[in-house]
Subunit: 200 residues, 2 copies
DNA sequence: TTACGGCCATGACACATGTCACGGGTGGGG
DNA sequence: CCCCACCCGTGACATGTGTCATGGCCGTAA
């Protein structure tokens, strides 16, 4: 019997997947969580065989949960997301995820992926994997990404500078570099593009 | 037998709901669509009893689909959304929707809502309905919303002015009014807040 | 009719932002 | 070692942005 933990902040899809998985004779859903912190707590307590983690969750996202669990448990993690971009896949694999499945796929495939991962295998959505090979790596430097992240909700230059302990001029400099590299002409567009590509 | 059309751009939740609904003895899923335009076409061809429509979809969103179908068919529409805010509910009901269900609810409730709506009743999520009574109506004027919409991706003032055929100064003025009313200090924050509340 | 309040539009001004040129520091190859 | 790339910081300048006072338009109430 494969013991599975489910984590997704959207109740409807979480309960729907749980109901479908419970119909499978060899799968047992042992926990349902609505945020990343709860997923970590339950996974450490119940040590399920597989964790099916949504990427976008409050408190801790799927990648952060995977990193934590890989340090403390033997659970294998599958990351599920609606924004399936090469950059996202890259981050997911770097965190130690054993599976990657976009939400555009049918729910039927979930059980198959869980079985495969539980058996020690890996699963990566073939389309996204193909895209990832056509290197869409971020041209941005680490610090530039920091600045972009710190300003992703429209924070002012001064606020960004304070949270990163930088001079305002430096912040503007980094942002200017980002705008040039991404060929856009406002912070907001840069943030949207970077989120789109999974660089943030 | 209640004949149901399902529309959601996320394949996983669409197929999961379809599978669960097919388990119900009195419900028949006659169509699954991944965008609003397909939903309109299929609904007019198949005349299902109930349409379960996601709000966020490509081409036409759930509200627009509901408006169209209410003019041409007798189908009753239920709108499902992850961003369940009073403003969104208001728009949904104004379009003639017979039901409103946030995705935070469990999938079990979907069948019950469908039965209720098919029987001629209405269903509105009680929590959101209560919030909607504590009038969270948009304080923004029509033109201000236009400007906000036109600039929601970080477009520059000049671009907004061109798309709306306005002088740049006018655009800045409207934005200034918006920032004051929403008590924020950048366009991006205003856009995020307005989207959050369902005003855009 | 006049007066009033709303929405819309405009231009002038102050300030924040993006751009550019520059220099110091650090770490990793040739 | 030098060279190079990257990071951090500064300051001056052009441009974009937010604020304000102002006026036109329209519907409503006195």
């Amino acid at each position: 019997m494969i013991r599975v933990l489910l984590a997704d902040d959207e109740g409807m899809i979480r309960s729907a997947l749980a109901a479908l998985l419970r119909l499978e004779p060899d799968i047992d859903v042992v926990a349902e969580c609505s945020d990343g912190a709860a997923a970590v707590a339950d996974a450490e307590r119940l040590t399920p065989d597989v964790c099916l983690l949504d990427l976008e969750m409050p408190r801790l996202d799927g990648v952060e949960v995977t990193e934590k669990l890989n340090r403390t448990t033997a659970t294998r993690c599958v990351i599920v997301t609606r924004h399936a971009r090469p950059g996202v896949l890259r981050r997911a694999l770097a965190s130690g995820a054993a599976g990657f499945l976009p939400k555009s796929r049918s729910a039927d495939e979930v059980a198959a992926v869980i079985r495969r991962v539980a058996a020690g295998g890996r699963y990566v959505d073939p389309e996204i994997a193909a895209d990832a090979l056509s290197d869409e790596r971020s041209p941005l430097t680490d610090r530039e990404l920091d600045v972009l992240r710190a300003g992703r909700r429209g924070e002012t230059t001064g606020q960004i500078a304070r949270t990163l302990s930088l001079a305002p001029g430096t912040v503007r400099n980094h942002i200017s570099a980002v705008l040039g590299k991404l060929a856009v002409d406002s912070r907001q567009q840069a943030v949207l593009l970077a989120e789109e590509r999974g660089w943030i």
